[in-house]
């Protein structure tokens, strides 16, 4: 190899090395101290005008202050842009963790907003969504007075390895998007408001059908939804007339048939529970019976709500994919869901009675 080509090689190497400087992701880059990274975004729509509230943690010495910024406009991006212009730093939605919709707006329909979140890549599709059933302004105000020094309190509430409970629904932007497009898959998303003793008060969850809030579930019903979908219903404490039990594990088996255009779904949910508290001395048989009865009634109520709102939050339509043609499946929510024949059997096993022997 000649020395000329050797030299050329080096020039090429140096040139391509130089290129990594401009193309290494630092084009028009702004340093972290010139960016604001909101973690919670609240959205309301009043008289056709969006209102966006951003909660930005601002680290100061020793503590983290929470700054709440508001803006109004016709599109979300426009508002964020406006806020960004008026601020000394640029707003970067990359680390957004939670989007809160005011309940009035959720009832009107989240379609456009969810779609724009999906389209934009600076907002992760993993962002959790929740509904706030009080005006956003007062919600953020209350939260700030409570937890001045903790920027992540809202997030911890929803995080599975932190403050999440099985009575709280969990959904992210992409799941709502799927519910808007899918034929058989709807979601429930949590409803919260600012609490009095605790920072947040859970108010059950909202049934989202085709991107609109069409009904709501109680926390107890949400637990069943979570158990049905197979995500663990662990840790839930069940209060009844004469005993309290803790659900340790749940397993669900479904069987489905289709007769004369009527879908039948038989589900069996096996619950393993442990005794926590008893009033008097109810027999184990009695407790088992009561747990099953209670859950049964909750389940029936969910199915009733699903049929009324035509939103398949349990994704029961998924089980009938092989029984229906694609065109029929498209009308699952209107034609088949209202006629769905659901039977559920709760099998409760008292795995242990805690540290005490059953008297």
């Amino acid at each position: 190899m000649g020395s000329r080509s050797f030299k050329l090689r080096w020039i090429a190497v140096c040139l391509s090395m130089l290129l990594t400087i401009p193309a290494g992701g630092c084009w028009d880059n702004k340093d972290i101290n010139h960016r604001s990274l909101p973690i919670v975004m609240g959205i309301a729509k009043r008289d056709g005008i969006y209102k966006v509230v951003l909660q930005v943690p601002e680290p100061t010495e020793g503590t983290t202050d929470l700054r709440v910024i508001e803006g109004k406009g016709t599109t979300i991006n426009d508002i964020v842009d406006k806020i960004s212009t008026n601020m000394e730093s640029q707003i970067d939605l990359l680390h957004l963790k939670l989007i809160l919709f005011e309940d009035e707006f959720a009832k009107e329909g989240l379609g456009d907003v969810i779609e724009s979140f999906m389209r934009a890549h600076d907002i992760s599709a993993k962002v959790m969504v929740a509904i706030c059933d009080e005006p956003l302004e007062s919600f953020f105000k209350n939260i700030n007075t409570f937890h001045k020094n903790n920027g992540t309190v809202l997030l911890s509430f929803f995080e599975k390895n932190a403050g999440w409970n099985p009575q709280v629904a969990e959904s992210s932007v992409w799941e709502v998007f799927r519910s808007m497009n899918s034929y058989t898959h709807d979601v429930s998303i949590p409803i919260i408001r600012s609490g009095t003793g605790t920072v947040i008060e859970s108010r059950g969850s909202a049934i989202i059908g085709s991107g609109r809030m069409v009904g709501n579930l109680t926390p107890g019903e949400t637990l069943i939804v979570n158990a049905f979908k197979g995500s663990s219903a662990q840790g839930k404490i069940e209060v009844m007339k004469n005993a309290t039990v803790e659900i340790i594990s749940s397993a669900t088996v479904h069987r489905h048939t289709m007769k004369n255009g009527i879908p039948y779904l038989k589900s069996k949910i096996r619950l393993k529970v442990t005794l926590l508290e008893t009033k008097g001395s109810p027999s184990q048989e009695n407790i088992r019976h009561e747990v099953s009865k209670l859950l049964q009634s909750r389940y029936d109520s969910i199915i009733g709500k699903m049929k009324a709102t035509r939103a398949d939050i349990l994704a029961t339509g998924q089980y009938f994919r092989s029984n229906l043609t694609r065109d029929q499946l498209e009308h699952w929510r209107e034609d088949y869901l209202p006629r769905l024949n659901c039977e559920v059997e709760f099998v409760t096993v008292i795995q242990n009675t805690g540290l005490l022997r059953d008297s």
């Binding site: 090429a12 290129l19 401009p22 084009w27 599709a125 497009n181 899918s182 034929y183």
Partner: protein, 361 residues
């Protein structure tokens, strides 16, 4: 030198690079249900094409396609290989341009497109300039560097899968194979017959045992399956068909709590870009090799000239629609490369064997 493993590795990596980007979207657009039939059809096509190609090559004693065709006649070789040359150029333009776009959409939203494309073009040209052996070695390096995160993301992408979406398995007249004429399906052939042609170019510098390439081709089936089915099982067809890059999107919503990185998808896309870089440089090297057979010039000057011209073409493509048009036009050339080149190679090989191999010396 016999470098079967390196060749097989390059063969797999370059395919991974193209499978996970445009292919899922193409297949999801092409069919509404029973995608596995489409995947299997593509895979069988791939097997037939690649196997007959390497079978034909193996009948000659370590010679490449260009020499084999030249023996049949200068003009025949020219006519056969000219479309291949155009095809290679188009594939390079498509890859540079579409991956440039992907980089802009996914992570560098404020970096201008020309800068990312320039970097891709320069790196690919630099690698191609070093010749096939350097490309093969780089392949090994990328295997070590990029395969662990890629495999991790491939496994974790199953996180949100709902297996019910698999059903119905047989429906919608998929067995009438009408999807074969679907524009999207044909465009998806980029992942099926995109890079195999290099197998005919590497000899005699690098020899390989055709049997292992045949084994390696079976590794592609699960990859095709994952690329299409993971988005389908996560979202369902009606939602997945609205996504521009379905598989990349699935990797984006994977949540791994115990990992310190929030977006595992970044590692995946970085690996894909590295693999595609390998793919582009390989195609560039192939194109340069063809030019060298016509005019005798040094490799580096041809490679850089081609890279420069193609970069200018890339920059002049304004939007995604134009790019899709280019992919569509290129599909015809791809069909030619997929069927004519292996067919001719195999025929010539069989003729050569019948004559006892002595006539050609």
């Amino acid at each position: 030198m016999v470098k079967t493993w390196q060749v097989a590795n390059l063969y797999i990596l370059t395919h991974i690079g193209v499978i996970f980007f445009l292919y899922p979207d193409n297949m999801i657009q092409a069919m509404e249900v029973s995608h596995w039939i489409g995947i299997l059809t593509g895979f069988l096509l791939h097997i037939i094409v690649v196997w007959s190609y390497i079978k034909g090559l193996s009948l000659f004693d370590r010679r490449n396609v260009v020499d084999i065709f030249l023996d049949a006649g200068k003009w025949i070789a020219f006519l056969l290989l000219a479309p291949v040359f155009v095809y290679l150029l188009a594939v390079i333009v498509i890859s540079i341009r579409s991956y440039g776009e992907m980089i802009t959409i996914i992570f560098l939203s404020s970096t201008p497109l020309w800068a990312t494309m320039l970097l891709t073009a320069i790196l690919a040209a630099f690698l191609a300039m070093q010749g096939i052996e350097a490309i093969l070695r780089t392949g090994l390096l990328l295997l070590v560097l990029c395969m662990p995160p890629t495999l991790f993301v491939l496994f974790s992408s199953f996180q949100h899968v709902d297996w019910h979406y698999l059903l119905p398995l047989f429906e919608g007249g998929a067995f009438q194979w009408s999807f074969v004429y679907n524009r999207s399906f044909l465009m998806g052939l980029l992942a099926v017959g995109g890079s195999f042609v290099f197998l005919g170019f590497v000899q005699p510098e690098v020899a390989f045992n055709q049997r292992y390439i045949r084994y390696a081709s079976f590794l592609l089936l699960p990859l095709y399956g994952i690329a299409v089915y993971v988005p389908l099982l996560t979202f369902g067809h009606s939602t997945a068909s609205r996504l521009m890059f379905p598989f990349i999107f699935v990797t984006d919503i994977v949540e791994v709590n115990w990992l310190m990185f929030e977006r595992t998808s970044l590692f995946f896309t970085m690996s894909m870009i590295a693999f595609v870089l390998l793919f582009i440089s390989l195609m560039l090297w192939n194109a340069a090799y063809l030019v060298q057979k016509v005019i005798t010039v040094r490799t580096w000057s041809i490679v850089w000239a081609i890279a420069f011209v193609l970069f200018v073409i890339c920059v002049s493509i304004d939007d995604w629609e134009q790019l899709e048009k280019l992919i569509w036009w290129n599909t015809f050339l791809r069909l030619y490369v997929m069927f004519v080149i292996p067919g001719v190679t195999l025929t010539l090989g069989l003729l050569y064997k019948r004559k006892g191999g002595a006539a050609y010396g």
